[in-house]
């Protein structure tokens, strides 16, 4: 069946370091993926997306990598800042919905 999951529940990094959050998906037919950031008490906030015809997409301080061979997705955050502290979810687009992974908490320490 469909599933989107995350390797690590919590990631602690030093301010200024780069962060890498990973995600595995099982539906090889999936063609669109999104990374969301969720701060406490708020809704998921769009960070970056990628289509299956791409391997890499860059935004401002963020990069998403897609490896379709092993069905793996990652979010890289450059020069992590305290404001990046949040829970990060990957989501896979189904026909009429998004299928979310379990989430990784990113904790940024000064």
């Amino acid at each position: 069946g469909e599933s989107v999951g995350l390797h690590l529940p919590t990631l602690s990094v030093q301010e200024g370091d780069n962060s890498i959050i990973n995600c595995a998906y099982s539906n090889s037919a999936s063609d669109y993926f999104i990374w969301y950031k969720q701060e406490s008490g708020k809704g998921p906030q769009f960070i970056i997306d990628i289509r299956s015809n791409m391997d890499k997409r860059q935004g401002q301080r963020v990069t998403v990598l897609l490896n379709k061979t092993v069905k793996h997705l990652s979010l890289q955050i450059a020069a992590t800042q305290p404001g990046d502290s949040a829970v990060y979810f990957c989501a896979e687009k189904g026909y009429n919905k998004l299928i979310f992974g379990a989430g990784t908490r990113l904790a940024v320490h000064p």
Binding site: I34, G41, G43, F46, D49, L98
Partner: protein
Amino acid sequence: EPEVTQTPSHQVTQMGQEVILRCVPISNHLYFYWYRQILGQKVEFLVSFYNNEISEKSEIFDDQFSVERPDGSNFTLKIRSTKLEDSAMYFCASSEHLGQGASYGYTFGSGTRLTVV
């Protein structure tokens, strides 16, 4: 920047009571969704809505749940007889389209925290 607006931000209700959660999607969006998130867990899909009818619903969305677009701007989720396990954050979302092309503009609201006591 356009946003999805949800009211109330927090609702406390007694078990067995009916609740209506309200959402105002982004004005040019055509697809509307409800998701829920039990504390500490992942976001779960409830229902999608397009052209005044349900497109897809999950097994969570049983007969106690219903959605409605009563006018041109609001999108509501009704729970007829709330149970303790309905306590969760409920997120409304809207998107431009589901087909190929742009990034859909899939946008979430800030959520309504429902507490059933």
